[in-house]
Amino acid sequence: MLPLALTGLWLAGTWRVVAENENSVGEYQVKAAFLYNFTQFTDWPATNFSTASAPIVIGIVGEDPFGSIMDDVVSGEVVGNHPLVIRRLRARDNLLGCHVLFISRSEQAQLPAILIQVKGHPILTVSDISDFAQQGGIVGLLLVNKKVKMEINQAAAIEAGLQISSKLLRLATIVKSRRN
C-alpha cells in the first residue's frame, strides 16, 4: 500500500535526522543560539575591551535556565578576535564587566534594580521576562506559537551606546519603553 510505503520513507528520513541530532529542540537551546547571534550583530565601543583579543563576556543573572547549553554554544567560538566567555552572577553582584547580560526569569522582582545598575553602560541586556523591552531592557525574547521572537527597544540600545545591526532590527519587533 502506498501509505505504508510513504510511512516507511518518512521513518527512514526521521531516522537519519535522529541519528544526526540526538536532542529535540528545546526552548533554551534556541534562546542560547539567539544569544550567541547577538554577539555578532552588536557593536560595542572599542574602549569596552581592554585589548583587541579580550573576551566578550556573557553574564547570566539569577537561576541559569540554560544548564550547560550556553557553555556548549560558546566553547571555541571567537567573534571578531574576541573569544566568548560565560559568567554566572547574582543580581547584587557587579554586572558592569559584562557585554551581554541575560536576566533570568527568577530575577523578575530585581529587574528594575538591575536595569538601573547597568544604565548608561554598553551592556546588551536580554531577557525572556515578559515585556522586558517595554520595561527598559534592550532585547526581549518571547515565545509566540512555540517560536522564539525578538522585541528590541532601540532607544535603550542607543542610550547604552550600542550599535545593533539593521539585520537584527529588521527581524525584531521594535518597541518603546512604557512610561509608568
Binding site: 502506498l2 501509505p3 510513504l6 510511512t7 518518512w10 528520513g13 526521521t14 535526522v17 535522529v18 544526526e20 541530532n21 540526538e22 536532542n23 529535540s24 529542540v25 528545546g26 526552548e27 533554551y28 537551546q29 534556541v30 542560547a32 543560539a33 539567539f34 550567541y36 547571534n37 550583530f41 535556565p65 540554560f66 544548564g67 550547560s68 547549553i69 556548549d72 554554544v73 566553547s75 567560538e77 526569569r105 523578575q108 515578559s130 517595554q134 515565545l143 509566540v144 506559537n145 512555540k146 517560536k147 522564539v148 521572537k149 525578538m150 539585520k167 537584527l168 527581524l171 519587533t173 521594535i174 518597541v175 518603546k176 512604557r178
Partner: protein
C-alpha cells in the same frame, strides 16, 4: 418543510461561559525542559541564521515563572493544534482541524458539518453539545445552540493562531454547559500578522477562496488585526441518490444544487488592558439531499446563515496577585432555511424557517492568588436574551405555521479553587450555579487531582457533571405539524464523567498521553419519529429518550525532531451504548485511528504532510452498517522559497476512497456519500 440547518439544537442558548482567561492560562502545554544538551545540536543551532532560528518551533516549553508553572496544568485532556500544523496539513475549515484530533470525528450531510466527540453524535444535533469559543467568546448560536465548524465559522482558518480542544464536562471549570468539551479558537493578533497578506486559492468542484489580512503592533502598544475572506464553490455538478431514483426525481440525480458561498470579516483591536473584537459571517449552502421531504433537485432548498458578534474585554492584573476580568458581549444570529414542498400544486410551495436571535452577555471575574499556593476565582454572568424569534411560513400561498417570540434573562455564579497541596500535587475544584429563564436552575461541580510523580509524568483524576439545557428551538419549534411538532416538556440533558489521564514525556522526542473515561448520560435529547398509532404518527419530535453510557480509551503520541520532522498519531476505542437497550449508538465509531506525518523536503522551507484517518463501522439510523473507511490526504507547503510567498498544494482523499456518513432523521438516505478525490492550490503573498 422544516427546520433548518441552523436548525438545531439544543444547548441552551443563553448560557455561557467562558472564562477565556482561565482557559488560556491553563492551556499552555508544559512539557519537560531541556534534556542533556548535546554540543553538536546546540552548535548547529548557533550557526543557523536568525531567520532560521525564528522559524524553529521549540518542542519543549518551560513554564514561564514559578507561579505560572503551578497553574499550567489544565485539569483536562487537552489537544492544541497550531497554525503551523494547520498550514502544513492544508486544513481549510475548523472541521478539517477537528478531524485530526484524537477522539473527534465529523459528519457531513451536504448541509453542514457536525462534530462527534468520544462516540457521541446525535444525527439531528447540529453541534450543540460542545462549546465553541472564538478568543473566549461563545459562538454557539443563542436560539439553537448550534456552532458552525465549517465555512459558517466567523473566522477563516487562515486567521487562526491555534485551536485548543479541552475534553470532558466544562460546566464548572469553564463555566458553561460544555457537555463533551470546549473548543477555543485563538485568532492571530496584529503582531502575528505584522503586515499585510493577500491569499488566493482554488481547486476542485469549481471552488475558490480569496483572503486579505492586515495586522500590526505599534510601538505604543496598540495592536490591530483585520481579515476578510470570500469563498465560493459550485459543488458537484451531479450527485446521485438511489433513494430518489425515479423519473419524477430526475432519476435520483441532484443536478447543480450543491453550491456554497461564505464571506466573513474579522477584526480585533488591543490596547493596554482592553480588547475589542468584532466579526460577521454569511454562509449559504444549497441542500442537494432532498431532506425533510422537500422536492428533490429543487435549487431553492438552501440554508442561509448569518452571524455577528462584538466583544469588549477588560483585563487587569493588580500588583497583589489579583486579576480582574470584565467582558461585555453582543451576539446576533439569523438563519433562513428554504424548503420547496410539493403540495400538489403546479409548482412547489416554498416553506421558510426564519430564526433570529440577539443576546447581550456581561461577565465579571476576579481571581486572587494567596501565598502562591492557593488561587480562587469567582465570577458572575448575566445574559440578556434580547430577542429569540422563530418563524415558519409558506410564501405563496402565504400560511404562517409558527411565530414564536421570547426573551428573558439567565444568570450564573461560579467559584473555582486551585490549591497546591504539595509541590507535585494540585487540587482543583469548582462549582457553578446556572439559572435559565426557560428551564430553571442547575448546579454542577467538578473535582480534579493533578499529580506529578516525576518530572516527565503527570497523572490527572477528574470527576465532573455537566448539563445541556434544551434550547428555545428544541422547546418551542414546530412547523405546525407538517413534519415536526414541539416538545415544551423537554428536560436538560445531564452527563457525569469520570476520567483518568496519564501524560508522559518519553525521551527528548516524544510526548504521549493516555486517557480512560466513563460517561453516564441521562435525559439525552434525540430526534425521533412518532410511532404509528399516535395522532402525530410519522412526525419528527425531540424527546428525552433516556440514557446512554460510554466508556473509552484514547491514546495519543506526538513526536518532533530537529529539522522539521513531526508526527502525530492517535487511537481511540469507544464503547457507547444506549442505557436501556444496550444497542450501539448511531454514528458512534468504535475505533478511530489517525496519523499525521510531516517531513521537511528542502531546508526549513518546503514540507510534505501525509495524513491518514481511519474510522470503523458505524450504526446508521435504520440500524444498518455504515462501513469502515480510511482516507489519506497529502499537502505540500512551502514558505519563503520565493521570498514573502507561501504556496500550498493539497490532495484530499488521495485514493478516491468511496465512503459515506450516516444521514439524519430528516434524510431519506441512510448513508450520505462523501467527496471523492479533490485538489486545492493556495498562494499567499505577505507584504
Amino acid at each position: 418543510m422544516t427546520k433548518t440547518g441552523l436548525a438545531c439544537l439544543w444547548v441552551s442558548a443563553g448560557f455561557c461561559l467562558v472564562q477565556p482567561v482561565m482557559a488560556q492560562d491553563n492551556l499552555v502545554p508544559i512539557l519537560a525542559t531541556n534534556g542533556p544538551a548535546q554540543t553538536t545540536t546546540v552548535k548547529k543551532l548557533a550557526h543557523l541564521s536568525l531567520e532560521e532560528l525564528g522559524a524553529i518551533q521549540v518542542d519543549t516549553v518551560v513554564g514561564a515563572s514559578k507561579h505560572e508553572q503551578k497553574v499550567t496544568e489544565a485539569p483536562s485532556s487537552v489537544t492544541i493544534i497550531t497554525r503551523d500544523e494547520i498550514q502544513k496539513a492544508g486544513y481549510r475549515t475548523l472541521a478539517d482541524v477537528l478531524d485530526s484530533v484524537p477522539g473527534l470525528y465529523t459528519r457531513y450531510d451536504r448541509s453542514a458539518s457536525e462534530l462527534g466527540v468520544r462516540g457521541f453524535d446525535n444525527p439531528g444535533d447540529y453541534n450543540s453539545s460542545f462549546l465553541l469559543l472564538v478568543d473566549g467568546h461563545r459562538m454557539n448560536v443563542p436560539l439553537t445552540g448550534n456552532a458552525a465548524i465549517d465555512r459558517g465559522l466567523v473566522v477563516d482558518v487562515d486567521s487562526v493562531e491555534r485551536v485548543e480542544i479541552i475534553r470532558g464536562p466544562g460546566a464548572s471549570l469553564y463555566g458553561d454547559n460544555a457537555f463533551f468539551g470546549v473548543i477555543n479558537v485563538i485568532t492571530r493578533r496584529g503582531g502575528d500578522v505584522n503586515g499585510a497578506e493577500a491569499s488566493a486559492s482554488g481547486g476542485s468542484l469549481d471552488s475558490y477562496d480569496v483572503r486579505f489580512s492586515y495586522g500590526s503592533k505599534f510601538t505604543n502598544g496598540l495592536e490591530i488585526m483585520v481579515s476578510g475572506s470570500y469563498y465560493k464553490s459550485a459543488g458537484y455538478p451531479g450527485l446521485f441518490y438511489k433513494e430518489f431514483n425515479q423519473p419524477t426525481n430526475n432519476n435520483g440525480i441532484a443536478s447543480h444544487v450543491d453550491s456554497e458561498r461564505a464571506d466573513n470579516l474579522f477584526s480585533s483591536v488591543t490596547w493596554k488592558d482592553f480588547t475589542l473584537e468584532g466579526a460577521l459571517v454569511g454562509h449559504l449552502k444549497q441542500v442537494p439531499t432532498g431532506s425533510f421531504g422537500t422536492v428533490f433537485n429543487d435549487p431553492n432548498n438552501q440554508l442561509d446563515d448569518n452571524q455577528a458578534f462584538m466583544d469588549l474585554k477588560f483585563e487587569h492584573q493588580f500588583d497583589n496577585d489579583l486579576k480582574l476580568m470584565a467582558r461585555l458581549g453582543y451576539d446576533y444570529a439569523s438563519s433562513i432555511g428554504t424548503y420547496a414542498g410539493n403540495l400538489g400544486l403546479p409548482s412547489p410551495v416554498l416553506n421558510l424557517d426564519n430564526f433570529l436571535s440577539q443576546r447581550l452577555t456581561e461577565d465579571l471575574e476576579l481571581r486572587q492568588t494567596f501565598f502562591e499556593k492557593h488561587t480562587v476565582t469567582i465570577g458572575v454572568q448575566v445574559v440578556d436574551n434580547l430577542e429569540e424569534l422563530q418563524r415558519n411560513y409558506n410564501v405563496n400561498p402565504p400560511v404562517v405555521f409558527l411565530d414564536d417570540r421570547r426573551h428573558g434573562f439567565d444568570y450564573a455564579f461560579y467559584l473555582q479553587e486551585e490549591y497546591q497541596v504539595f509541590s507535585n500535587l494540585i487540587f482543583s475544584g469548582g462549582v457553578r450555579y446556572d439559572d435559565f429563564y426557560t428551564v430553571g436552575s442547575t448546579v454542577n461541580p467538578r473535582l480534579a487531582l493533578i499529580y506529578q510523580p516525576e518530572k516527565n509524568t503527570t497523572l490527572k483524576f477528574i470527576y465532573g457533571t455537566s448539563f445541556r439545557a434544551p434550547s428555545p428551538y428544541e422547546l418551542y419549534y414546530s412547523d405546525g405539524g407538517v413534519t415536526q411538532i414541539a416538545n415544551p416538556q423537554l428536560k436538560p440533558e445531564k452527563i457525569t464523567t469520570y476520567e483518568i489521564i496519564l501524560e508522559q514525556q518519553i525521551g527528548a522526542h516524544f510526548s504521549a498521553s493516555a486517557s480512560g473515561y466513563y460517561n453516564d448520560i441521562e435525559n439525552l435529547i434525540e430526534t425521533t419519529t412518532i410511532a404509528p398509532g399516535n395522532p402525530e404518527e410519522g412526525l419528527i419530535q425531540l424527546q428525552n429518550l433516556g440514557s446512554a453510557k460510554a466508556a473509552g480509551l484514547e491514546l495519543a503520541l506526538k513526536g518532533t525532531w530537529a529539522g522539521g520532522y513531526e508526527a502525530r498519531a492517535s487511537y481511540s476505542l469507544t464503547e457507547a451504548r444506549d442505557g436501556m437497550t444496550g444497542a450501539r449508538l448511531v454514528d458512534s465509531p468504535e475505533h478511530l485511528a489517525k496519523l499525521d506525518l510531516t517531513a521537511p523536503l528542502y531546508q526549513n522551507k518546503v514540507f510534505a504532510t501525509l495524513e491518514c484517518q481511519f474510522m470503523s463501522d458505524r450504526v446508521t439510523l435504520d440500524g444498518s452498517e455504515n462501513p469502515a473507511y480510511c482516507t489519506v490526504n497529502g499537502t505540500l507547503f512551502s514558505r519563503n522559497l520565493v521570498k514573502r510567498v507561501e504556496v500550498s498544494a493539497s490532495i484530499y482523499n488521495l485514493f478516491n476512497t468511496h465512503y459515506g456518513d450516516p444521514g439524519g432523521p430528516e434524510h431519506l438516505q441512510n448513508i450520505i456519500q462523501q467527496n471523492g478525490r479533490t485538489f486545492w492550490l493556495k498562494l499567499t503573498y505577505c507584504f
